[in-house]
Amino acid sequence: MANKRVVIDPITRIEGHLRIEVEVDENNVVQKAYSSSTLWRGIELILKNRDPRDAGLMAQRICGVCTYSHYKAGVESVENALGVVPPYNAQLVRSILNESLYMHDHVVHFYHLHGLDWVDVVSALSADPKKASELAFKYSDSPIATGTDELTAVQKKVAGFVEKGQLGPFANAYWGNKSYKLSPEQNLIALSHYLKALEVQRTAAQMFAIFGAKQPHGQTLVVGGVTSVRDILSPARLAEWKSKYEIVKDFIDRAYYADVVMAAEAYSTEPSVLGGLGVKNFMAADGMMLNRTENLFESGFIKDGDLSKVYDIDEMKIKEDVTHAWYEGDEPLQPYDGETLQKYTGFIDGDTVNGAAKVIDPNDKYSWVKAPRYDGQAVEVGPLSCLLVNYARGNEKVKKEVGDFLAKTGLPVGALFTTLGRTAARMLQTKLISDNAITTFNSLIENLKTDDSTYTKFEIDPTKEYMGRFIGEVPRGVLSHWVRIKNGLIDNYQAVVPTTWNAGPMDKNGQIGPYEASLVGLKLEDPKKPLEVIRVIHSFDPCMACSVHVMDIKGQELSQYKVNPLGSGAAC
């Protein structure tokens, strides 16, 4: 019997436009999977011939969710090209902004983008609020937003919608699917945290705005440093950051951590979240400067799941394949030689479980996302990769955090190599960052006693050619931006972003990427309600606008860049 096709478009609760298709056999087990991005914007092309000082603010508009990642990457790739080193204060503030971004971004992802894949809102309505209130103490010594009164109010609020079939943003989801595993009481606890997180994320955004001007799309970085010197030199502003930081950290400790422990317990026997790791190569970059000598996270590459060996990254081994992407080209190319010419082939008519639709032709091109490869291999990037690389490197902080979590949940290390593990890793990364951001902050306080500099002057010589790059860890994994400057203007600009690594289509050798590989073997309860697929894909935290931007419609060949050793680290 022929496989049945399931088309999911739009994948909602993500940034951007993503289509996922799977083919299931007669037992509803996924045999093949395809990932397609359906929007292209062309920002790198637009960056050409602009003032290099505009690169950060323009590249930032690649994404309004991980908004700061591309800003920092744009500014620091130009600094790398010009040989500008910003003052230590500026480096620390940039790191504080990055830490603030993570604390915002991961909380929003877990509760508002991914949470409803784990939490059945409708089930929460039949919970006993008093029991739920008591149960919350199982997962946290001092649970937050789970008093009986508060839970009763939450329940009532949502019940009002349900009774009249008016679910608002919760309407028509896959409630009642058998792969939802939380009890009604557990669902109610999480639902209350969903609402509380809407409030906390606002505080987290304010934390960023204190030194970053606003969130999203901060406006305080410039080539050479940061501009918010008055905020940095104001004890009142510093204290404001710290008090908001404490509110967010408190939520991470008492709700986010507790809820993931609760989910890990409930889902520890659910098959659809215990697979989901088809690609076992992992890459991570340096990130989170704590002081002059220490970054919280280190870089590295793990091959085929072997944690006994971590390789240093060789930038020249990064290549992008366009065999199944909507660009012309035959051979995988290094980003500096990126040769891209649009070749849109669209979709074909086909049958799906929901009837006739436009579907992907797997023998042709099918996505605006390219397929990046490292040393010819597909690679997963993101919080899970970051933790695995650092665990394997022997990073003490990471080893302790991961060890504590496994002990608390009784899960084996192998549980990390799953959809559940990917979601847990994001929480553990957030916990590590929220615990250690205060070190960065204290480093700033210490340095401000003797140094108030925030900016390094520089000049761009229009007769010279410059080239440089940024490679760093951002919320969705390894991000790199590459810039060439000529006649005082941007001559070429390339970004290779985390979601491109994860969401890319099949390559020339038929090798599929992490999204696609993570779905093969997944059994669906009901192909018309593919909750299991959504949950696996959301565990990667898709960010499509980020991943689709790489194109030079003139097919121009980019010249060679000088490759700098990885891990200057100072400003990551």
Binding site: R13, T38, D51, G224, M551
Partner: protein, 382 residues
């Protein structure tokens, strides 16, 4: 006060019409507020702050309170075109009202891809259902520019791979009002910057109906929510400027109410980021601030519940609520030369170097800039 009286009457009429419509909520906003522990006084304080934000006299306050109670009559459909989701992110930072009370108590959010639980076929079903059920009644909010090159195929949506262009046109046809949220939906935004490879355009360029533009990259949550509140109250487009922006939010230049304005008038400029002038909060004009050419309320509203804003953080305004600002305001960290050769720049240099009658010259510079921006007539929307 004649104008205000007319507005007042119009608003009262509007409320009567809204009152006659069927509610989409089972429970009244009053009882919901009551359960949340808000008393009438808190509620009126909120209404008063909205009135003040819209620069209306205080007698409008009770009308806003009435309108807010009726706000759940308003079905919203929010579509994503070519964008970065920054405007949605700004929207969820709203605190007046907060996003949860906005979504659960005030409006009926029928479709929003970043927030809704349904995916795929079920999501499309929600959209079709809402467009049919609320035909002619819903507000369409669009985030992102609309790609028009290659017949719109740079963006396709849904299992039938409809183009973003066709979807936005269909949704606009059946909408009661259309709001372009952010600079991309208003004017095309970053993807429309030269050479605009996808032929990205603002929504008003691809639909045949009036569109209210709420630009900014992103607009503050206050401007997004305030524009919704205005529609609720009056039921018509607000007074708009020449770029179809609500005057209440975009009626003043950043420069007019800037906290650093005194330093501009006094001829005190930051000469280099991080210098003593920067530490003292001097004017950022020479570092490329586009406040004199930019219409928005950032100087007073700021961002993230008034926590900060670009000029507060020592970076000049980049003009993000103006059409084509990526192309016309760059380089972003240098003063404009092409617009005002011998005009504002020269005046600023004079101030900086001679300090002659600094205040008078500063006012003179202001006048020059005002002449520059007033060359197109503003229009009243209806």
């Amino acid at each position: 006060m004649d104008g205000f009286n007319a507005m007042f009457e119009k608003a009262k009429e509007r409320i009567e019409i809204l009152s006659s419509l069927e509610s989409t909520k089972e429970e009244s906003i009053e009882s919901m507020l009551d359960k949340k522990g808000y008393d009438r006084r808190d509620f009126m304080k909120w209404a008063a702050s909205i009135t003040a934000m819209l620069s209306l006299p205080s007698q409008f306050t009770p009308l806003f309170a009435e309108a807010a109670k009726l706000a759940d009559r308003l079905p919203l459909i929010w579509l994503h075109m070519a964008e970065c989701t920054g405007c949605s992110e700004a929207f969820i930072r709203s605190d007046a009202p907060t996003v949860d009370s906005l979504i659960f108590d005030h409006i009926s959010l029928e479709y929003h891809e970043t927030l809704m639980a349904a995916s795929g076929w079920q999501a499309e079903e929600n959209l079709e259902h809402a467009m049919k059920k609320y035909e002619g009644k819903y507000i369409l909010l669009v985030e992102g520019g609309v790609p028009t090159a290659m017949n719109g195929m740079y963006l396709t949506l849904g299992a039938q791979a409809k183009t973003g262009l066709s979807l936005v046109q269909e949704a606009a046809d059946k909408a009661a009002a259309i709001f372009s949220i952010g600079t991309c939906a208003s004017f095309g935004g970053i993807q429309a910057a030269a050479p605009n490879p996808t032929g990205a355009k603002g929504v008003d360029k691809v639909v045949n109906k009036p569109v209210i533009n709420v630009p900014g990259c992103p607009p503050s949550a206050a401007n997004i929510v305030g524009t919704l509140m205005h529609f609720l109250l009056f039921g018509t487009l607000p007074a708009l400027d020449r770029y179809s922006r609500p005057k209440w939010a975009y009626g003043n230049r950043i420069h007019d109410l800037c906290e650093r304005r005194g330093h501009f008038d006094a001829g005190e400029f930051v000469e280099s980021f991080g210098d003593d002038g920067a530490k003292d909060g001097w004017c950022l004009y020479k570092q490329g601030c586009k406040g004199p050419y930019t219409f928005n309320n950032c100087s007073t509203e700021r961002f993230n519940q008034h926590v900060n804003w670009p000029i507060g953080a020592g970076h000049g305004c980049m003009g993000c609520s103006e059409p084509n600002f990526w192309d016309t305001m760059g380089p972003l960290e240098k003063p404009l030369e092409s617009h005002l050769v011998g005009g504002l720049n020269k005046t600023v240099d004079n101030i900086g170097t001679t300090l002659l009658s600094a205040t008078v010259l500063g006012i003179g510079a202001h006048a020059v800039a005002s002449m520059f921006v007033k060359n197109s007539d503003e229009q009243e929307g209806e």
